[in-house]
């Protein structure tokens, strides 16, 4: 009842009413059951369920009508009491469902048949309801545990890379605990942080707002994300809702798509134990091609020569002889070329009777890093599920929960940027005595950074209870009660030992940065479901309401100065304690939603959804808005003309949808004019600073989505092709309007009368190439083309976006200088002077545009199985452009290593060289030309790639060897091969210069009993 106390008295009352009603229903209805006239005779039916004459365990047999049910045991035997005339429904995943009327025989056995058309029998989770694949009107992509389990990944977003049409996933960093960027059907919002989808775990929305702090998340390119708390091993399926039909029921939060995570549930049958262990290694996929010592020193010497400096300055240690000119170290191998040791263990117990099922599982995962030093990421997790149904299956209850604990220790900063820029003749890391070598103060030893640490500890609970009661035939009342609790601590320690001891820095200058985040949320969603057939029309109705409350608290502190570095983890030991921020926030959300689904003989299907939303993120009077969508499907293969005659076409469906969704991802309290504590102190008092530029008048962003899709199956669905075309338009853009610094702030929340359109084509092809008794081969292929376009933007020219966007082009463009190559006379990069004023300057001369959105992307998966052996390959591909590695390497000629190709620099007048003359940085024109070059079209290169994303080989030992024990051996690899023309390290990045994704290979064993 803790949930209710959070609500306050006002709401408590209404909830008490709901809850008491809920408790009363079974009682009042119990009386109704007794009134039922007993016109049919009950008999007990029993028999066996087999497949290819082998007993099948766990098959569900349900009597349509009375709802009485049974599950087959290990011998395939079942038994249940039914009324004569009822129909038994025998179903098992992967097999054709059998419907058999009870005529009076007491013994009925079933031989199952494998479902070739399994796809159409599959149900997908659409959030508030489930729908059969063949009957859905919306666009939903799904990845199930079968594919997730094949991948040695720790972040669930990694497991969907390349597997879903329309879903682009990019890994931000190879450091354990790093995040992923996800985009579902492109960029909708002009706000960079307004494009995250809604995540829902077992019906509980899970906030993906970052939990890290700029003070502490220093090893990652972005602030730490809470999504690492979701354990891929617990996931039964991930469904992504894309179009209006599927997302409108999520209303204001569905604009960027919805990611539904469904965790594993217990299955009835004999108690099943499973234990598995895997161990493996991770390495960097690819190094940059950098200069060796000879190339480097010749660059440096030439730079001084070009600048007219004949005597090397005292601080040019790399060339003036201070450092050994014959020394060479491959710093990339040295600083991030290590091996990450990966281990994981899992065990689970599941089982239950036909009325009560359970699952408990535990996981442990650890990985070390590729950096030198002793760093470790650990993640442990327990997951459970209990489901119960009353004898008459009218009352159902289910409780699921996962608790994840993470502990991550990494160096305070990613060593990659240092590794690629450090002079190749820099001195050795350790001196002869084994201590860090600072080379008499001339060398900033990168390993000094290892003394400084980044650490996180987090505990995360996601739990959900679902209660439902069938009031009448077809009418069900249910409610979900969800609760999440996240407790996260992130620290950065900066001890004095990270610096050269010669600087004389003592522990009195050591620092501890501390970021503590707590986030709790609860959600209550009472719903009514009604199903009934009116003649040939099956009707489904859903009505529901949502109450959600999320509270957040964040405390960011710094301890400065310690008596000893050994006390650095204790804030209480700090001489000076500074509180940077202590924030609390409350987010409240309320909605009513509904769905009507009409289904005419599984042939014509109409689906309408609507939601009215209120959010505390908007000012008074602007909190509510309504969203809705309509979807329709025509299963034309069921038309009489085609049904019997077309042997080639086995399934055909045309579906379309149209509707609106919204976006409220703007942070809390943005409409308020307030002051908050700055964390700075002066004159002994904490300072108060204006929190934001406030605008009380902003409202919802709306997103209109339209989709048309054709789904066709051929040759008994052995070839199944889905083609979808969509157009999404976001208008009334709710943006953090970027403002010039003269306003005192960077941005203001406001609605902008601009429209962004994403349109695209998605194709998914699944073929069963060979289907034999022992050998099977299936192929899945998906490809997504997308086009982003700024449709309209009244007043663009006079807006802060004038130099960022162009109407008719993508919102992910960069406006750039147009390179004219290296001027053979001056030896400097030249650019087109568009405005003809004789000076190359921004923004007027940045007139060339390049689009950094992927042009298309997708994946190709092949699965082979022969008896117990299964082999699975996934290739992932992306066609895109991005910044070249020049942006992370230094100024050519400065004391910073560079790409080996840069050696081909301009030497003397008349040269036609690809790279400009070297300079130490004294040649102002060269500096300006170089930085213009980094913002020119030449700095954008092809960053397309094809990656052998995943290979999984699994061998299940024959039963005759292992007896009752099931034993599976597996080898799995992730990011194994990379094919690309990109000249930097890995072309997959959001911000370049961070540790790229790792290649991971693991070997494992799974035992089941």
């Amino acid at each position: 009842m803790k949930i209710f106390s959070l609500l306050g008295y006002r709401h408590l009352l209404s909830y008490l009413i709901y809850f008491s009603l809920f408790l009363c229903i079974p009682l009042s209805h119990a009386a109704a059951i007794d009134d039922r006239s007993d016109q049919d005779r009950d008999i007990t039916v029993s028999g066996f369920v087999t497949f290819q004459k082998m007993p099948m365990q766990g098959v569900s047999i349900i009597a349509k009508g009375s709802g009485s049910s049974a599950i087959s045991d290990a011998d395939g035997r079942y038994s249940l009491t039914v009324r004569i005339g009822e129909v038994l429904v025998v179903s098992f995943i992967g097999f054709k469902t059998i419907e058999h009327p009870v005529s009076g025989l007491s013994s009925i056995s079933f031989e199952l048949e494998e479902a070739v058309t399994a796809l159409n029998e599959v149900t997908v989770n659409a959030g508030y309801y489930t729908v059969k694949e063949s009957q859905r009107t919306g666009s939903i992509a799904k990845v199930s545990s079968k594919d997730i389990e094949k991948q040695p990944v720790t972040n669930f977003l990694a497991s969907i890379q390349g597997r879903m049409a329309g879903v682009s996933v990019t890994q931000e960093s190879g450091v354990a605990g790093g995040g992923f960027a996800i985009q579902i059907r492109g960029i909708n919002s002009l706000r960079r942080d307004g494009n995250a989808p809604l995540y829902v775990i077992d019906g509980v929305p899970y906030s993906s707002d970052p939990i890290g702090s700029a003070q502490t998340s220093t090893v990652l390119p972005n602030l730490t994300s809470p999504l690492t708390n979701i354990n891929p091993a617990d996931i039964e399926s991930i469904e992504i809702l894309k179009d209006a039909d599927a997302t409108a029921i999520y209303g204001s939060r569905g604009a960027n798509g919805v990611v539904l995570v469904t965790t594993k549930k217990g299955k009835a049958g004999k108690t099943r134990f499973s234990a598995s262990a895997a161990s493996g290694w991770g390495h960097v996929t690819r190094y940059m091609d950098l200069m060796d010592t000879q190339q480097y020193l010749s660059m440096r010497r030439q730079a001084f020569e070009n600048d007219g400096i004949t005597e090397y300055p005292a601080d040019a240690y790399d060339v003036n002889g201070t450092w050994d000119p014959s020394r060479y170290t491959d710093w990339q191998k040295e600083l991030y070329g290590g091996t990450s040791q990966i281990r994981s263990f899992q065990s689970s117990v599941s089982g239950g009777s036909e009325h009560t099922q359970f699952l408990i599982s535990g996981n442990y995962h650890s990985e070390t890093t590729v950096f030198p030093g002793d760093f470790l990421y650990r993640k442990g997790d327990v997951h459970f599920n209990i489901s119960h149904a009353s004898d008459d299956r009218r009352f159902k209850a289910s409780l699921s929960g996962s608790y994840t604990s993470q502990n991550n220790r990494q160096p305070w900063s990613d060593l990659t940027p240092v590794a690629i820029t450090l002079a190749p003749n820099a001195p050795s890391l350790y001196d002869a005595a084994g201590n860090l070598n600072w080379e008499n103060g001339t060398f900033t030893n990168p390993l000094g950074a290892l003394a400084a640490g980044y650490g996180t500890k987090s505990g995360n609970l996601v739990s959900n209870m679902l209660l439902s009661y069938r009031l009448l035939e077809g009418l069900e009342f249910k409610s979900s009660f969800g609760f999440t609790d996240l407790n996260f601590t992130e620290t950065r320690t900066m001890p004095s030992t990270m610096y050269d001891p010669a600087f004389g820095v003592t522990s009195a200058s050591s620092s501890l940065f501390f970021n503590n985040v707590q986030r709790q949320s609860w959600i209550v969603e009472p719903q009514l479901n009604y199903q009934r057939a009116f003649g040939r029309v099956k009707t489904e109705l859903l009505l529901g309401t949502t109450f959600q409350n999320q509270t957040g608290a964040r405390l960011v502190e710094r301890g400065f100065g310690f008596a000893s570095n050994s006390l650095i983890h204790n804030l209480a030991a700090a001489n000076i304690h500074i509180v940077y921020g202590n924030e609390q926030s409350v987010y409240r959300y309320q909605a009513f939603f509904g769905r009507v689904n009409l289904n005419w003989e599984d042939k014509y299907i109409l689906n309408a959804t609507a939601r009215r939303d209120g959010s505390s993120r908007f000012g008074p009077g602007r909190q509510f808005a309504t969203f809705g969508a309509i979807g329709a499907a025509w299963v034309f293969s069921k038309e009489d003309g085609l049904k019997d005659n077309a042997t080639f076409l086995s399934f055909g469906k045309l579906r379309a949808s149209y509707g609106t969704t919204g976006n409220d991802q703007i942070g809390d309290y943005q409409y308020l004019d307030t002051y908050s504590l700055s964390g700075h102190s002066y004159q002994g008092m904490g300072g108060l600073e204006p929190t934001r530029l406030f605008n009380p008048n902003f409202g919802w962003e709306s997103n209109t989505k339209a989709e048309m899709a054709l789904e066709t199956g051929f040759l008994d669905d052995r070839i199944f092709l889905t083609t979808a075309y969509y157009t999404n338009r976001s208008s009334n853009q709710l943006v953090g309007l970027p403002l010039p610094g003269t306003t005192g702030f960077n941005s203001l929340q406001a609605n902008l009368d601009a429209t962004v359109e994403n349109s695209g084509l998605e194709m998914t092809l699944r073929t069963t190439n060979i289907k034999g008794r022992d050998f099977n081969w299936t192929t899945s292929f998906n490809i997504s083309f997308l086009k982003n376009r700024l449709v309209s933007f009244p007043g663009l020219e006079s807006s802060p976006y004038a130099n960022q966007y162009v109407i008719g082009q993508s919102v992910n463009i960069r406006k750039l200088f147009q390179s004219t190559g290296v001027d053979p006379q001056t030896g400097l990069y030249g650019f087109t002077d568009f405005n003809g004023d004789g000076v190359i300057s921004a923004p007027d001369d940045r007139q060339v545009t390049r689009d950094l959105s992927p042009e298309y992307f997708g994946g190709l998966q092949n699965s082979f199985s022969y008896k117990g052996l299964a082999i699975d390959f996934l290739f992932q591909f992306v066609k895109q452009q991005n910044y070249s590695s020049a942006t992370v390497l230094g100024f050519p000629g400065a004391p910073s290593n560079n790409a080996s190709e840069v050696s081909h620099s301009w030497q003397q007048p008349g040269d036609n060289a690809p790279f400009q003359q070297f300079s130490t940085g004294l040649n102002g024109d060269a500096v300006v030309a170089f930085y213009n070059y980094l913002e020119s079209d030449r700095a954008i290169t092809d960053a397309s790639y094809i990656r052998l994303k995943n290979v999984a080989i699994t061998y299940e030992l024959p039963k005759k060897w292992t007896g009752v024990l099931g034993c599976k051996l597996s080898v799995q690899g992730q990011n194994l091969l990379l094919f690309t023309k990109y000249r930097g390290a890995d072309p997959e990045f959001v911000s370049s210069g961070f540790l790229p994704p790792l290649r991971v290979i693991t070997a494992g064993i799974q035992l089941t009993l």
Binding site: A314, Y675, Y682, L739, G744
Partner: protein, 458 residues
């Protein structure tokens, strides 16, 4: 059964409809205060004002760390040499090769206007407040005007023509235009004169960390000096120097202590026991310097008798070389209670302003008197300069020796006297005449088309 359903749906609809009017209304978080509440209370109104000083101390032009003007403009002119990494912004400062997308160029600008916003917000909050006593309002208004003028003053001197922002209205501020330097100076002068009327003669707190009337007049004196208004410069400087609160510290090691009697205004630290960012930034104990060292040419100008050379300059020697650092602030580490605060305005400047102004006015005796006050304190004999030109040159030299690594005095002096191209053209290989002005930040030009055109040379 139907009845149950009816009741249920009625309650469902009624219950939710009833609660929807307020469920999504949330109260103010306890970490935030509404603006009217801030200016209804003396303590919170003061906290809004002191936050601006914290921001000046910690961010942007006036901060004492590696990015602040004391270090940055020292590198940009000829006071400091750079020893750090080429990826560091200071590298480009030292080479005079700034570009419009340089982070520090943008952070000076953004931090400055954020501080100006804070000052304008205080002024507007005070105007709307009925609760605060008039005396409190006057002092805070004076401080806000002073702060706004000070920040604009440095902006003009770095970026040339700039927008002068006097409101918090983002609609006006996002399309604001640049005004001429002369107009900006006129606005600064107006704000400072208004502040001088409102600010008290004494310090509200003992440690001189809140500006008073003398601070406004000291800045007015500097403004007059920069614009060649010698009478005015001399008068304002006299007003400060006649205040008996201020005494030249005979001991050079006492000048930068927080109790120094020559200080007009200094930044308090963020916590008791902290000392200055300047000390952490400049002092090193082993060569070569990890970041910056004093320029050898500057060090050589201190004669053997100049006590500032031994008291304000530190030296590190090893077998291979000798390096120097600014040692005005000596406390790198925390101390039981703070020992040093960063001094923003001190009376020595007023002596040299008046010396220069008097020389221009023809009062050579008075000019020499003021110049000698500084020379004598440094252990030097009275000046040998005779003519006005010689005295003015001698004052410039003393300014260079007295104010090195203090808020870019050297750069601004070279600029206002017109000597900059000759001097820096010789001293700095990367110097171009257009380097006298910073580029406007690229982000700023992109975000506000009315700021065009970019300064020449960028």
């Amino acid at each position: 059964m139907k009845k149950t359903f009816k009741i249920l749906s009625a309650v469902l609809i009624f219950g939710t409809a009833n609660s929807c009017d307020n469920f999504v209304d949330v109260e103010l978080p306890n970490s935030q205060l509404s603006s009217p509440a801030v200016f209804a209370d003396v303590a919170t109104a003061n906290a809004a004002m002191t936050e601006i000083y914290s921001k000046m101390r910690d961010n942007g032009m006036l901060s004492g760390g590696p990015a602040g003007m004391s270090c940055g403009m020292g590198l940009y002119a000829d006071e400091l040499d750079f020893y750090g990494d080429s990826v560091n912004d200071s590298f480009f400062f030292h080479n005079n090769s700034l570009i419009a997308s340089n982070n520090t160029v943008a952070s000076y600008w953004n931090a400055a206007y954020s501080q100006i916003y804070g000052a304008n917000a205080v002024m507007e909050g005070l105007a709307a407040s009925n609760e605060l006593p008039v005396a409190v309002k006057d002092v805070l208004l004076g401080e806000a005007l002073f702060s706004r003028a000070l920040v604009h003053f440095y902006l003009v001197n770095l970026y040339g023509d700039i927008p002068y922002v006097t409101t918090t209205d983002y609609q006006l501020n996002s399309t604001v235009q640049r005004i001429s330097t002369a107009q900006a100076y006129a606005n600064i002068r107006q704000d400072l004169e208004h502040a001088a009327l409102l600010l008290p003669q004494d310090y509200s707190v003992g440690t001189r960390i809140r500006p008073n009337r003398s601070c406004a007049r000291a800045l007015l004196a500097r403004l007059a000096l920069y614009t060649g208004a010698w009478d005015e410069a001399s008068n304002h400087a006299s007003a400060v120097l006649n205040n008996t609160e201020y005494v030249l510290e005979g001991d050079l090691d006492a000048v930068f202590l927080k109790e120094s009697r020559s200080t007009l205004w200094q930044f308090g630290t963020t916590a008791e026991g902290r000392n200055t960012d300047d000390a952490q930034n400049y002092i090193f104990t082993a060569g070569p310097p990890p970041f910056v060292g004093l320029n050898l040419g500057l060090v050589a100008l201190f004669g053997p008798d100049d006590l500032r050379g031994s008291h304000w300059i530190g030296t590190v020697t090893d077998g291979t070389g000798t390096w120097h650092y600014a040692n005005k602030y000596k406390q790198r580490e925390n101390t039981g209670s703070s020992v040093e605060y960063t001094v923003v305005l001190r009376m020595e400047e007023q002596y040299l302003i008046r010396a220069e102004a008097r020389a221009w006015q023809g009062d050579l005796i008075g000019a020499k008197e003021d110049l000698d006050a500084i020379r004598l304190r440094a252990g030097l004999p009275p000046t040998a300069a005779d003519s006005a030109e010689e005295i003015i040159a001698a004052v410039q030299l003393q300014r260079r020796l007295e104010f090195f690594t203090e808020f870019g005095h050297r750069f601004f002096d070279l600029k206002r006297t017109g000597a900059i191209d000759t001097v820096l053209g010789l001293a700095k290989a990367g110097w171009n005449p257009t380097d006298k002005l910073f580029p406007l930040p690229l982000t700023e030009l992109n975000a506000n088309p009315y700021l065009q055109p970019q300064n020449p040379g960028y």
